[in-house]
């Protein structure tokens, strides 16, 4: 999978490494900005109130 991406990136090894880094950072950005904020309320780690049903997740 990663080998396939690597082979399809253009340029020599340095350019490919730089592009890989950009791709990794883009993925991390999407995770932190969109995926994790969406996933977090679905997981039971942040309930702090006593209310009987965890409304303040």
């Amino acid at each position: 999978m990663y080998g396939w991406i690597w082979r399809h990136l253009p340029g020599n090894a340095w350019v490919r490494a730089a592009l890989s880094l950009v791709l990794v950072l883009a993925v991390v950005y999407v995770l932190f900005q969109y995926v994790f904020p969406w996933a977090e309320p679905l997981l039971p780690f942040g309930d702090v109130t006593v209310d009987g049903e965890g409304a303040a997740r």
Binding site: V48, T49, G52, A56
Partner: protein, 225 residues
């Protein structure tokens, strides 16, 4: 034959890479929960806190505007940070790194009310983690609430390190579980426990000891000096 084996090996290798990726994503989620949400929440709460302090400084004595928050909680046992307190305990607000006072299931009293229980919730981990060190609070420790014109000095008299999340009785105006039977001016801090999970709730109760007028220089009461 050789090609079939190559295909199997390829499939296994992709599967392995997916597993490694899943592990890295989970690791990143921990970083997000325990670090990044704190960064965001601290930024937001200090911005909101600054706005309130500006309001206080620029508006003369008189009606208190409580829309942006009612004041700051100081608990020396939990560290030097002040915690902005606003109305309500919904997730969106608490995620901004503030403490909220309960509006449901049992409505909180406010510090300036004659009698009642001022009940607060805040995050233990992530999103500012304002009550992270709640386990360091001992009986007798001061809990000070600062409003525009008054310091409310509470003294902790009881902690409950573990209770069910269904235990809403701890929020009663007279919290019987803390041993009190008469109406008074109480404060209740609630957060989740154990650290990093929210299976149970941690409760700290205090009772108002005295109030102090805020002076021109906002000199903190002796407990905070």
């Amino acid at each position: 034959m050789a090609r079939a084996r190559g295909r199997v090996a390829g499939a296994i290798s992709v599967f392995g890479e997916l597993l490694i990726t899943a592990g890295v994503v989970l690791g990143l989620f921990v970083v997000y929960s325990l670090w990044w949400t704190n960064v965001l929440a601290d930024r937001e709460s200090s911005r909101q806190g600054d706005r309130i302090r500006d309001d206080w400084a620029n508006s003369g004595p008189g009606a208190l505007d409580t829309k942006d928050g009612i004041g700051f909680l100081h608990v020396p046992a939990m560290g030097a940070d002040e915690v902005l307190v606003k109305k309500g305990t919904n997730t969106k607000e608490l995620n901004n790194g503030i403490a909220g006072y309960y509006t449901e299931p049992i409505k909180s009293a406010l510090p300036w009310d004659d009698k009642g229980n001022f009940t607060l919730a805040a995050h233990r981990d992530g999103h500012g983690a304002k009550f992270h060190n709640i386990h360091k609070i001992k009986n007798g420790d001061p809990v000070v609430f600062e409003t525009k014109d008054t310091w409310y000095v509470y003294k902790v008299y009881k902690t409950l390190p573990k209770t069910s999340k269904y235990n809403v009785e701890v929020l009663q105006p007279v919290p019987k579980e803390s041993g009190k039977t008469k109406p008074g001016r109480y404060i209740t801090l609630t957060t989740c426990t154990p650290i990093y999970t929210s299976d149970y709730r941690y409760i700290v109760w205090g009772e108002l000891e005295r109030t102090e007028k805020v002076d021109a220089k906002r000199t903190p009461p002796a407990e905070l000096r």
